[in-house]
């Protein structure tokens, strides 16, 4: 047996043992959690299968032919292009994720120093790491390609040949992006420091996602039918014979309808994937070892930063509030420096811009000329949604962001409640700041009474405070401090409980605030309505209720979070 094959066997066995241990040598609670996640995952797979099935069934329905033609949709062309379009999306997504995956696997694994100094060929380490990356890609394929394509085949009554060729196409698909990703990773790391490269890639990934979404929303016509027709034409255009995704798509479509040219496309696709994988790994492997040595020997780029403001000029609050302020100041400094944190804000900010544009310009959804109550409700709703999206990540990852440096807070003479308050204060900031901006625009563009605008802003800020406190507290109660990848900062329990209780509180308090504001809003609904004692009574009950639930939201979860934090051992 060649040394490379032998080393690959040893490494694969070790990886298998680690995977098994991760599943079996954990507490019962984590095992139960894993089973629940697995069940959710299976539901997700079933969902994507049905989605593929019903979309295809809908698009191929004879009854829809005339209707689709009226909206400018070429029904047969769209049906033919669907697999190609899906494969293009998968290939792009897989290539982008494989660059990040390759950087992590080939340059940041904890075992690299040990492996690269062991008497085994570097090639075997490289291939073993690539195989590890491939596992993730196949899982991605299973959810996003295999199940929808099975649904597609079932909806069009394709025969056995389709379902035999599909696994071959799926097996070949991740080979190209994985090899390409590894090659690009090695190239990128020759010019950009590794940590920065990982951060930049994260931002690029988010921007690409945004590009896809808003591109399809903005570049096509403004009316629903026009937009649908434009999108369909765009999807149909993705089936170009010179693109690899089209080879896969045409292969599947061909064997599905009994056109044996499909087999030729399948062969071309599989051979091309194999050649690209072989050639790519061969070239990259040559560059890898020297690249790794360069990375291992270098730290973060040395970059002079502006000195912190002289300490004596800053006003420091006294007592625990001063400590909470210290934590907020530290987080405000750190957040913009870490691009991985900025990624969290790209989507909500883009949504904010997009909704603003829609509110201003769109005749269907714009607020101009609407009745004041609709304007108020839309403004408050959009402002709260955007602020809560910005705030949720900050709140739920509040403690987890400290990561392994959390020991600094643990050994400091600071009460756990001050830590939770500090984190909650930071996460709450989007509500008063972005909320003020959004409500001001609602007042200006929608012609809303400024007093109502102010009340709307207050409601956003108050409900936001309660919601943020709940989410921060549950993030503190169940933190993840040993994360390697930022997307794994929120634990399952923190995410579930924080979101569930946070949104439950938001709906209840919003309803109570709506009741409390009846004396102001009722005349808008019906100018003839008098403010009877019953209205004032209902408003009073609503106000008291809102104060009570918000008071509870601001205190009780903090107590739970702080108590759990104090019990944390490290």
């Amino acid at each position: 047996m060649s040394p490379t094959i032998h080393a690959l066997r040893v490494l694969s066995r070790a990886r298998w043992q680690i995977t098994v241990n991760r599943w079996w040598r954990v507490s019962l609670a984590r095992k139960v959690g894993s089973v629940i996640m697995l069940v959710f995952g299976l539901f997700g797979l079933a969902f994507t299968l049905f989605l593929g099935f019903f979309i295809t069934k809908g698009l191929s329905s004879v009854r829809l032919t005339d209707g689709l033609a009226q909206t400018g949709i070429d029904q047969p062309a769209l049906l033919v292009a669907l697999p190609s379009a899906l494969m293009l999306g998968i290939l792009l997504l897989a290539t982008l994720s494989s660059i990040g995956g390759a950087i992590s696997a080939l340059f940041f694994s904890n075992d690299l120093e040990f492996l690269l100094t062991a008497p085994i060929p570097v090639r075997s380490v490289f291939i073993a790491k690539l195989i590890e990356s491939l596992v993730g890609q196949y899982l991605l394929m299973l959810a996003l390609a295999v199940m929808p394509l099975i649904g597609y085949g079932l909806a069009l009554d394709y025969g056995l040949a389709y379902f035999l060729v599909l696994p071959l196409i799926v097996l070949a698909t991740p080979l190209m992006p994985t090899a390409l990703g590894a090659f690009l990773a090695v190239l990128i790391l020759r010019v950009v420091p590794p940590r920065r490269a990982r951060e930049i890639l994260g931002v690029l990934g988010s921007l690409m996602g945004l590009g896809f979404y808003f591109g399809s929303q903005l570049l096509t016509g403004s009316s629903g039918a026009q937009r649908l027709g434009g999108n369909a034409a765009w999807v149909a255009n993705l089936d170009q014979p010179y693109l690899p995704n089209a080879w896969a798509g045409r292969a599947l479509r061909g064997v599905g309808v009994g056109d044996w040219r499909g087999l030729g496309y399948a062969l071309i696709y599989i051979v091309a994937a194999g050649l690209i994988f072989y050639g790519g790994t061969l070239v990259t492997e040559r560059m890898y070892h020297s690249g790794w040595l360069a990375v291992a020997g270098s730290g973060e780029t040395r970059r002079k930063r502006k000195s912190a403001a002289p300490a004596q000029t800053r006003r420091q609050l006294g007592g625990w509030r001063g400590q909470a302020q210290t934590i907020v100041s530290k987080d405000l400094r750190v957040l913009p420096r870490d691009l991985r944190n900025l990624i969290q804000f790209i989507w909500p900010l883009a949504f904010a811009a997009f909704w603003l544009w829609r509110i201003i310009s769109d005749s269907d959804t714009g607020i101009a000329g609407r009745d004041p109550l609709t304007v108020l409700a839309s403004g408050v709703g959009v402002a709260f949604f955007i602020c809560s999206t910005l705030s949720a990540r900050l709140a739920q990852t509040g403690i987890s962001r400290e990561g392994r440096a959390y020991w600094l807070l643990q050994v400091a003479p600071i009460h756990a409640r001050a830590i939770v308050w500090g984190k909650a204060a930071l996460a709450w900031l989007p509500f008063p700041i972005v909320g003020l901006l959004m409500m001001s625009l609602t007042v200006v563009l929608g012609g809303l009474n400024p007093l109502l605008g102010l009340l709307g802003w207050l409601a956003v800020a108050v409900v936001g405070a309660g919601m943020t406190t709940i989410q921060t507290s549950f993030g503190a109660a169940f933190p993840v401090l040993d994360w390697e990848q930022p997307e794994k900062m929120i634990s399952f329990r923190a995410g579930c409980l924080g979101s569930l209780l946070g949104w439950s509180y938001a709906f209840i308090s919003a309803a109570l605030i709506a009741l409390a504001s009846l004396p102001l809003t009722l005349p808008l609904l019906s100018p003839s309505t008098s403010r009877s004692p019953v209205v004032w009574l209902v408003a009073g009950v609503g106000l008291l209720g809102a104060l009570l639930v918000t008071g509870l939201a601001l205190t009780l979860p903090v107590r739970i979070g702080a108590e759990r934090l104090e019990r944390l051992e490290g």
Binding site: D338, L409, P413, H415
Partner: protein, 258 residues
């Protein structure tokens, strides 16, 4: 060494049990003001567990950890205000500069900002890091992180100072500097507890040493007291107490077999 008053660090029957494994078993000792106490033991003996219980990072299964007379479980804030701690692998916020990090620590300990800034600059000068003070900590080597962690631990002039393997990864000059700083801190009345595998450091620096093995404190005293009148080195005492001499026999046996 200054006068020995009430102990600043007091471990009273500290016990930590993980499932069936007893990591620390009724560990009892005291460190007085001005004393440097070395805590020795083989790997996995319970050194770090004991330190972590004393500083409040781990809750003891039973027993008490008192810092300056305050039980860290009952009055954690008062006890922690007296503590300085440097772990063996200091994990620090990567995206703060060295100066910002010290400012952050000063805020946590409620120090006067202006005074903290002066003290921070002194410490950066002392550790030859003043010209790197505006660089991100994430770009620092292990030794530089160790120095920054030390600066953070010293900025509030702790009364009870805990160091876990303080000289690991440091160049000889920095290691010497740390020894000098520890001596100076001790002379000002700080109680110092350090773990180390370098027995020469323990022998030269520590007023007393404690040896832990299998979670049990098996010997406490000055090096002379542990010698019991013999002329063996601390290494000989350590190996005799922790069973290290049997390795030599095993090694000889395996050589014979080979």
């Amino acid at each position: 060494m200054s006068s020995y008053d009430q102990p600043l660090i007091h471990a009273h029957e500290l016990t930590k049990v993980y499932g069936q494994h007893v990591a620390a078993d009724r560990v009892t000792f005291a460190v007085r003001p001005g004393e440097i106490f070395g805590f020795l033991g083989p790997n996995g003996a319970g050194k770090t567990t004991t330190i972590k219980m004393l500083i409040g990072l781990l809750r003891p299964t039973s027993g008490a950890a008192l810092i300056g007379g305050y039980d860290i479980a009952r009055e954690p804030l008062k006890a922690k205000a007296l503590i300085g701690y440097v772990p063996d692998q200091p994990q620090l916020p990567d995206k703060l500069t060295a100066r910002e990090f010290l400012q952050f620590v000063a805020g946590l300990y409620r120090l006067d900002p202006a005074q903290a800034q002066r003290r921070g600059e002194e410490l950066l000068e002392l550790f030859s890091l003043a010209d790197r003070g505006d660089d991100l900590v994430g770009g620092f080597s292990h030794g530089m992180r160790q120095k920054i962690a030390l600066s953070g631990a010293l900025i509030h002039d702790p009364k009870a100072f805990f160091l876990d393997e303080p000289t690991v990864g440091l160049d000889p000059r920095s290691a010497r500097l740390i020894k000098d700083i520890l001596r100076q801190a001790a002379s000002q009345g700080t109680a110092i507890m350090l773990t180390t595998h370098i027995l020469e450091i323990a022998e030269r620096m520590c007023d007393r040493v404690g040896i832990i093995n299998g979670g049990k404190l098996i010997a406490v005293g000055t090096v002379d007291e542990l010698r019991h009148g013999s002329d063996g080195s601390l290494e000989d005492i350590f190996l005799a107490l922790t069973g290290g001499t049997e390795y030599q026999q095993q090694l000889e046996l395996s050589e014979e077999r080979a």
